[in-house]
Symmetry: C2
Subunit: 394 residues, 2 copies
């Protein structure tokens, strides 16, 4: 039987066919009225998708570029900042702020865990200028409680800016940017937006813009004030990744259709879908006797501890070799210990049932005792009980 | 009659169809053996295309990102650097080095001009750490004599590193990176490589790598030493723009075919083609009584002074409205004063004759007295006398 190559990785994620076609046929110069119209509409649509009144900017970079932009635009040498870290991407905040010369306070939680409110509160005081966190830590599959963190910040360090890496969080978890007071939120193109990597985006609050008036770190390519001025004219400061912008415009059109003309509703369909796919996967894993790695699991992805201490690389390889399915191994210290199945963006019931059906046979092929079909049944029950089930019977 | 949308801008340039198809169908995760094979081959092919033994790296950014990488990786605060500027992109070196806090010496030439060897020599001394220049200044259409600059550097500031923005120069002008001693050369995907914007690349000398051991500017996203380590394993430090990398691999395959299996020969075909297209365009412009803007014209593009002081925006608009052809206006202070027709990458005889035939009717439609057909005839004569003409008769 042929094996289709399918991504179940927490980015890149499966591509929207309409976006692939748009991307291939784009033959457009960026300093033209045609492109300015697409670019302006894309920025406006992203605002609506995120659900914010803050300015949204696009950058030609991976998500890490936008993380650097948050550090270099919002801070100066010696600024005291608080990094909340519970995995590889939290550690990236630590590396970035350290490299730039901030005075870095660290609050860490063990891999697979999240932070306790008491610890966060203890780490906050009025000398903290900026707090950095992930919405969902893709390396461990944990969801952090951004709403609670934002609330603590407002009480205990009201002048501190809150920066949230929501690269895998946007479109998979509810984030009320303006009400909670997220000053800087970051997304990436290759996640819920269903297009290839190469674009990052961020929404920036007025408080954050005000901060940039005085911050001193050198920045040029990621100078957000320059980017904001260009965006107001429908342009980017430097040459934009035109093919990806055109793909993004097509993906946003699709998400609007998904919400019956309302991008916010489209986002909610996406989030609800990720939640059901994740719940199906967790139910299946547990029915198969597997252990979930995350204490507070994100809908973005499900991290499953490798059973019987077998190297999870064998599981990842069997998924690929037997079924063409690309799932993610653990990263860094977690390599070999867990595997990760993503639910970000363009996934549906058939994809999820398919990967669970593959998981059962992968475990079986490795000689692990599993009751084939029990994971699938558990997943079906989740779907049937969910709104998705109710809606489709309506 | 329908009007095809065609780019004659100095980037983005026309897309190679095989690259468009490859880009659309790429559905690949970057941490897989399949992608590592593509990435490693692409880096090796870029080395061969550039014709260098130096390490080549790819960055997810516009060309400006790689320019920033040159500044931030090769220098520290207070370093004395020399910027050679004769247009908008030279001014970008000035802005970047100033923003980062270098001690910036400027040698400027008027727009449309290049630097005199005597002035360069006068600007060089052993205290200069790095020299920044363009190979071709896209805003004015001028070619700078990089070979002569490199020679002066070796004599008068042998420890200074030479950084060359060859974003429009690579694939349009001969650059002997290793023999001349170019320490850092920069290219962009949307130029001679025939794919959309979003990737920059650079070749870095051993002297430049040694410099990075001690330089102090903060850098993370553009940390080239980290990128070099990743590249050695067929990876990028951060998520690569997979669709553009796959497109680039297809474009490099095409350029190898163009050189009968030899990428260096493919590059020479590209350069010779740009030279002939440019010479055809210059001959046509002069036959029509137009004035070339550049004193030392690059093959990358031909900048033509707007005749009778009419706003060149009208010429650009007529090209677009009558013929669907996108040519570039002047930038910044030169806006309205000149227009620019590019020859970078995927252009041939029919394209060039076509745009000259359009130019004649554009000028006629604006009420300018032109002898229709005289530009075309002059261009045909260039082609016939050229190697291209000789080869095709063989």
């Amino acid at each position: 039987m042929l094996r289709k190559n399918r991504l179940f990785t927490p980015g890149p994620t499966p591509l929207l066919p309409a976006a692939q076609v748009a991307m291939a046929s784009a033959n457009i110069h960026h300093r033209t009225a045609d492109f300015r119209a697409i670019y302006s509409r894309t920025l406006a649509d992203l605002k609506e998708l995120i659900g914010t009144r803050n300015d949204v900017l696009l950058l030609v970079s991976s998500g890490t570029g936008a993380m650097e932009a948050a550090v270099s635009n919002l801070n100066s040498a010696g600024d005291k900042v608080l990094v909340l870290t519970a995995g590889k991407f939290g550690e990236r905040w630590q590396e970035l702020t350290t490299r730039f010369g901030c005075k870095v306070e660290i609050l860490s939680a063990a891999y697979g865990q999240t932070f306790s409110p008491a610890d966060i509160q203890a780490g906050l005081d009025s000398s903290i200028r900026t707090v950095f966190v992930q919405a969902t830590e893709s390396s461990t599959g944990v969801r952090h409680d951004v709403e609670a963190i934002a609330r603590l910040l407002r009480s205990h360090a009201p002048d501190a800016l809150l920066v949230v890496d929501a690269i895998t969080g946007l479109g998979t978890t509810h984030l009320d940017v303006d009400s909670w007071g997220i000053d800087f939120i970051i997304g990436g193109s290759q996640k819920a937006l269903m297009i290839p990597p190469g674009l990052a985006y961020c929404a920036v609050s007025e408080r954050a813009w005000a901060r940039m008036e005085t911050t001193q770190f050198p920045r040029y390519y990621f100078d957000l004030r320059r980017e904001r001025k260009a965006a107001a004219k429908g342009e980017s400061a430097f040459t934009p990744a035109t093919s990806l912008v055109v793909a993004l415009a097509a993906a946003l059109d699709y998400l609007r259709q998904l919400g019956n003309g309302d991008l916010g509703a489209g986002r909610n369909v996406l989030i609800a879908g990720a939640e059901i796919c994740a719940e199906m996967t967790r139910a299946a894993a547990q029915a198969l006797g597997l252990k979930l790695f995350a204490s507070a699991p994100a809908a973005a992805l499900t991290a499953i501890t490798s059973p019987y201490a077998i190297d999870s690389g064998k599981i990842v390889a069997a998924f690929r070799d037997k079924f063409g399915a690309v799932v993610a191994n653990g990263q860094a210290e977690m390599k070999g210990k867990l595997f990760r199945i993503a639910h970000i963006g363009y996934y549906d019931y058939l994809d999820t049932i398919g990967i669970i059906g593959a998981l059962e046979l992968v475990l079986d092929s490795l000689g692990l005792k599993v009751e084939t079909g029990s994971g699938l049944r558990a997943a079906q029950q989740v779907w049937t009980k969910s709104n998705a089930g109710q809606l489709s019977r309506a």
